[in-house]
Symmetry: C2
Subunit: 593 residues, 2 copies
């Protein structure tokens, strides 16, 4: 089983050099986020990830979470690791200091989250969901609810869950049936929820469920959904835990991967109704849920990046150890990393992982600016960019993550197919990331419907303008010219594709939404490619200046160049599919399958 | 759990209409392979696949093969199913009638094999390996060995295995260490072999292992490897079974998928040496092994197609049942198959599956012509084409198979991630197909090294010439024009890529072999795209003539058209990667990872 090694240098490059903490830490609330703090926290987090949760990844997968007598047990070691996680203050890193958090920007939080997920995705899902619940309560909760729940949740002493899905209501939340009946100041919740990640666990004393349900007088559809806070154990006036609430774990799912994380079927109200509080206004639950959801979507994008990095590391290690045959151009048997095809595969993985890392951290930075910019116009622009990026980070980084984990397994040959090796687990774990918190198709519909069409392309035009100006500023830099050309080509493709979708959306909306996923990929390639071009320019500058880390910057340059030739050209076929492929798509009637 | 439904009409279209049994059944030995026989055998095979082995696919996965007291047990139901398989005469369908086979052409065998693998890949691996062993013994065995083994193996009463891999010798067989010491007329074999599919089982009385090993005086490397026949039970003079041979199952692998098929570690000679016979000449084992290997590679290509079809069928069924949301352009909730994005996904899967089916069956037909053509020149041309196609069918159809099974899972959303649904098994099972019998990288090296470079491009030029002439003959056919244009573009890409690889191979062989996998994909798209263009022309003709199956032929036309817009354009980026990407690939030194 190979150990995870946090890629601290690569992370620091993106955070400190490419994006810059300086862009964030002059804003109110983020003053402490200096380069020095970043270095210290990163190093400590690397250690925690590598030494505490990393070693539990494979054993957690083999053992899995279990349900006995109605109670869930996490795999051996998870509880002790969680206690260290909480004791280290990791849970509240990016949370509001008012409730015990450390208020660090997402630009610092993203690489930390990457490390956790890379080390142990099944473990890290628990704090991921908790943070989403914290965000929702902070956004919509009364002062009573905030003070009742947030200090313990931010501190990690209680965890949070998201209860959306029901058997008939997955992507379509309009179909949900769970009911909430008012009773005094509270509500009684009745219904069944499925796919509840960490819906029960043995890590903490209490679990705070956020539950979507309908009030008796609610209008049908999405406009009649409210959000409720339903704790596993009721909380007394003095803050201590009271009676067990009417929530029961019915069963655990047998999943392809993330075996260490319990995925629960939860029954609310078998004995008369679980007691809950309304969060926010009646029938406005979906809006609040989207607060959680957007935070979670960003995190799942980071997860896709993380699992890709982990799988890649395993493949590199194996390729450096495994001797098979005499590579072309050599004269004696050598590790397979020297075979040109293996180099091609590893180069492809490395270049796409670095592109995803730049994209994900960039989105983190925009989340920070959207929250903290003091200038109204700048804040609105950052919010728009952040809104645009969320579905792209989620969709693009997870699709790349699944693909990378599969290609990494391939590097092992037959050994990759044997579970003991560990490569298969990365693929099994990664495979959920394109599905939960909204499938890639849902992300793409969001991108086209809410981000492109709603403002008739204003958001994307701002982005295209920024990219064009940026590329123009690189003119004459010989070392990066091929990358700039490739990104410029992708930019033209994205502009034409956007114009095409805007044009057809009114007469043939099926065509626009049928091209949504290729469009999401195209935008993902464009933005990440642009960030890689900027990385290359930065690396070329460092090399010109005469750096002590010449190998590192040469590698950055070579990797961006590789992406230009062996990645970005995919945009050509995406463009063709979107712009030329409408008629052939619409001709494929549902009856044809 | 969804049931498999054999796509008989689609199969018949490729075999009878696109490729034509008439091209084969005028040749000696294949006279019986008429359209009527094809229909009858197909229907019967469809029933067997759907009713006998199909229902054991999921249970076999859940239960898995087990090892107890040194003996392997297959999952419940496998033995009874195998007995029906043998009783139905299925095992020897394409085998030599001299030894009890039915001598049917591969053009008929390929769809039958597709059905078996689609219904139950883990089960069908056993006859797949047996057929490879039969081919090797028939090709290289003395009359004594042939008559001792072939009747029982062709009849399915004994099974066969391929024993190549050792821990240090995977893709690099030169490194193998298993030894064979002469003893009278026999040899004593000692060594350990890994990854032996059906290395032990409880289906038959005997198992015939073909084992690669070194003679005491063998030269090092691949020129010192010989092939031995080592039965599990020795065979007496009268043909009855004698003593147990010195072969022992040490352990079974815990694999990502194909749980129903035992993957064994076999120890030969723990008690002094397993008794074996030399097959063919000393030190010529690899050549014979390639006979088995090529047969197996073709079959694994079919397997990739098969698992893709099975996964697709599941996704289609789910998409037609699952109601979520109101699709764009509709006014009431409807099954998700009506969402444009789901239609795009299913169209993509369908079009690529049909392209793979045409490619795989075409390769089957070329195998037949290479064996049966009476004209020397025609036979040589068919052999060359078949040699060219083998790595492409293996590499391309399995890569598509893995991708399709992953995309099909995605259609289910969260349900796809739950093992009970069955979609996850298809992905787990499919994932081995790009690895065993030579990884995609190995296929691509074979394609570039032995098929493109060895004859300086003669083989591929013949193919390009045939495709060009064929496309020219379609000029003026309006309905298929976009497909013809797309294939023509792919042809140009493939020609330029071939010329480029030939040019760089002498000065920069690393570049040529580094581009081998993209080249394999490019060739796969070209050939399968060309066959889809021919399908489209055929469908357009039928429609012009006024067919009773208008819907069927319209679908064929639409599917080819869809592939042109949403599949074949990938060739643009493959071309760019091969032709423009050499320098950036070589710049990615092994130290960079």
């Amino acid at each position: 089983m190979d150990a995870y090694r946090a890629p601290l240098r690569d992370m620091a490059f993106v955070v400190k050099e490419l994006l810059g903490l300086g862009r964030v830490n002059h804003l109110p609330g983020f003053e402490e986020a200096t380069d020095d703090l970043f270095d210290a926290v990163q190093e400590e987090c690397g250690r925690f990830s590598q030494e505490v949760i990393g070693p539990l990844n494979h054993t957690g997968d083999q053992q899995g979470a279990t349900l006995q007598n109605g109670a869930v047990s996490t795999p051996a070691g998870f509880k002790a690791a969680y206690q260290l996680f909480v004791a280290g203050g990791w849970n509240g890193l990016t949370c509001d200091p008012e409730y015990g958090g450390q208020g660090l920007p997402n630009l610092m939080g993203a690489p930390i989250e990457e490390m956790w997920h890379a080390a142990n995705m099944a473990f890290t899902l628990c704090p991921l969901l908790t943070r989403g619940a914290i965000e929702a309560i902070r956004f919509a909760g009364s002062e009573v609810l905030r003070s009742r729940y947030l200090p313990n949740m931010v501190g990690g002493r209680w965890t949070g869950t998201m209860n959306l899905t029901e058997p008939q209501a997955g992507s379509d939340l309009a179909a949900l049936r769970t009911r909430a009946i008012p009773e005094g100041e509270h509500y009684r919740i009745t219904g069944q929820k499925i796919f509840i990640t960490y819906g029960d666990q043995d890590l903490t004393d209490n679990i705070i469920h956020l539950v979507l349900a309908r009030l008796p007088d609610a209008p049908p559809g999405v406009k009649g959904i409210s959000l409720f806070v339903v704790p596993k154990f009721l909380i007394k006036e003095d803050g201590s835990l009271g009676a067990r609430n009417d929530v029961r774990t019915v069963s655990l799912e047998h999943k392809l991967g993330i075996h260490g994380s319990p995925t629960c079927v939860l029954a609310f109200g078998d004995e008369g109704g679980a007691v809950g509080d309304l969060l926010g206004e009646p029938n406005r639950g979906l809006e609040i849920m989207f607060i959680m959801m957007n935070a979670a979507r960003f995190s799942v994008g980071v997860q896709g990046l993380a699992i890709a990095e982990r799988a890649y590391q395993g493949a590199v290690r194996y390729a450096n150890e495994r001797v098979q045959g005499i590579p072309v151009g050599m004269t004696t048997p050598a590790p397979i990393v020297h075979h040109p095809d293996v180099r091609r595969v590893l180069s492809t993985l490395k270049s796409r992982i670095e592109a995803c890392r730049a994209l994900a951290y960039y989105a983190g930075q925009m989340l920070d600016l959207a929250r903290a910019e003091t200038d109204q116009t700048r804040r609105a622009a950052a919010q728009a960019r952040s809104d645009l990026l969320t579905p792209i980070v989620k969709g693009f980084c997870t699709e790349i993550g699944v693909w990378v984990s599969s290609e990494a397994l391939q590097v092992y040959g037959g050994m990759g197919y044997i579970e003991e090796t560990g490569a298969a687990q990365y693929l099994r774990d990664a495979r959920i990331t394109t599905i939960y918190e909204g499938t890639t198709g849902i992300q793409a519909n969001d991108l086209v419907g809410r981000k492109l069409l709603r403002d008739r392309g204003a958001m994307v035009r701002d982005l295209f303008e920024e990219i064009r100006t940026s590329l123009q500023s690189f003119a004459g830099q010989h070392a990066v010219a091929p990358v700039v050309v490739a990104v410029g080509r992708a930019l033209t493709s994205a502009e034409e594709a956007s114009a095409h979708l805007l044009a057809v959306s009114q007469t043939r909306p099926e065509e626009a939404f049928g091209a949504a996923v290729p469009y999401l990929h195209l935008m993902g390639w464009l933005i990440s490619g642009w960030l890689m071009a900027r990385s290359a320019v930065l690396a070329a500058t460092r090399l010109d200046e005469g750096t002590a880390e010449a190998d590192f910057y040469h590698a950055k340059l070579a990797t961006a160049r590789f992406l230009a030739d062996h990645g970005l050209r995919i945009c050509d076929s995406l463009h063709a599919s979107i712009v030329d492929g409408g008629a052939s798509l619409l001709a494929m009637d549902a009856a044809i399958f």
